[in-house]
Amino acid sequence: MPTRTLLMALIAALSAILILLAVFWEPLPPRPIARIAPHERLPAATAPPAGGEFTLQGAQGNVRLSDFRGKVVLIYFGYTYCPDVCPTSLSLLAQALSELAPDERERVQGIFISVDPERDTAARLQEYTPFFHPQIVGLSGTSAQIARVAEQYGSRYHKQTPDAEGRYAVDHSSATYVVDPQGRLSGALPHASTPAQIIAAVREQLASVASR
């Protein structure tokens, strides 16, 4: 019967198509795996930040990191309009400074670098930082200077779009960078490190100087 043969052929053909589709059909083209760059070629941003010397503006003029040679320097990047994160971090830092023995405290300096130099002048920072502790100095600079120092230390910040009244927040890293008495970046304490953790980091640096 020709009809039956025809039907069988049709079924066979359709089944073949179905199987072919099931095996070979890919709804999306295969991903070009070969185009992913090998790990070695990733941008240098993943390299540890180098830290190092900088010059910024304090209320009495230029302040260099090297002005504090011989001291452990704790650097924090923030801004004075910051409602919570910066006051919290500065309070923790201030508490650590207060808990140090006086002879230790003499060999420690806190630096608050504004990531909002548009609003935070050096004069404004001089009103702001001593409220937390007299041994924290506030530094400002041009946007380019601040950006360079932040990059040196691996700190990130991002100004948000101002609202209708021109108010804006700045997203920013909230690490405290620890610089040894030779001016070398030795590490970063994460956000919300306790006074005890800050003190431990300071004493480690002071001890390494003493043992030399």
Partner: protein
Amino acid sequence: MIGTACHGRPDPTNTCPPEKFKAMQLRNSAITLAAALALALPLSILAGEADLTVVAPYVRMVPPGTPNSAAFMTIANNGTSDRRLVKADSPVARAVELHSHTNEQGLMRMRQVSAIEVKAKSRTELKSGGYHVMLIDLQQSLMEGDTVPLTLTFDDGSIRKVDAPVRKPQAVLEAEQASAHGRH
């Protein structure tokens, strides 16, 4: 009742015709109803308030001339339904917003939120690094010993008014450390 000589009963002298008396009765029942509603409404709000308690509110003292600060507290919800804090007001700031923080690989991002949830039989902490009531453009310097009136509005319309003391950040830290030691 205003401007009428009708004093309660139909009067044969016709100063109070029966139709006027009827209208007055209707008006009286309407007043009764309104009064009942007026009494019941605050009662229902009070019922909501009883379920919501604001514990240990405070405003962080900031350096002089600093335009912004934040209020922190714990909100406890003893009720059986979830509540949301939808608004906060204070006369000390030009604007008051609800905010949250997220820590994205060390980058602290602060964002305005439309509400802060307080689940049924639960409590939500507004604390440093998390939720806070942001006080924007402070109208006056806040000194230690001052109190800041805060009005908190919840999604069911209930309102809590609290007076949050201004506290130095280091005093808050020390208190937290002391209570942490106490728990050990």
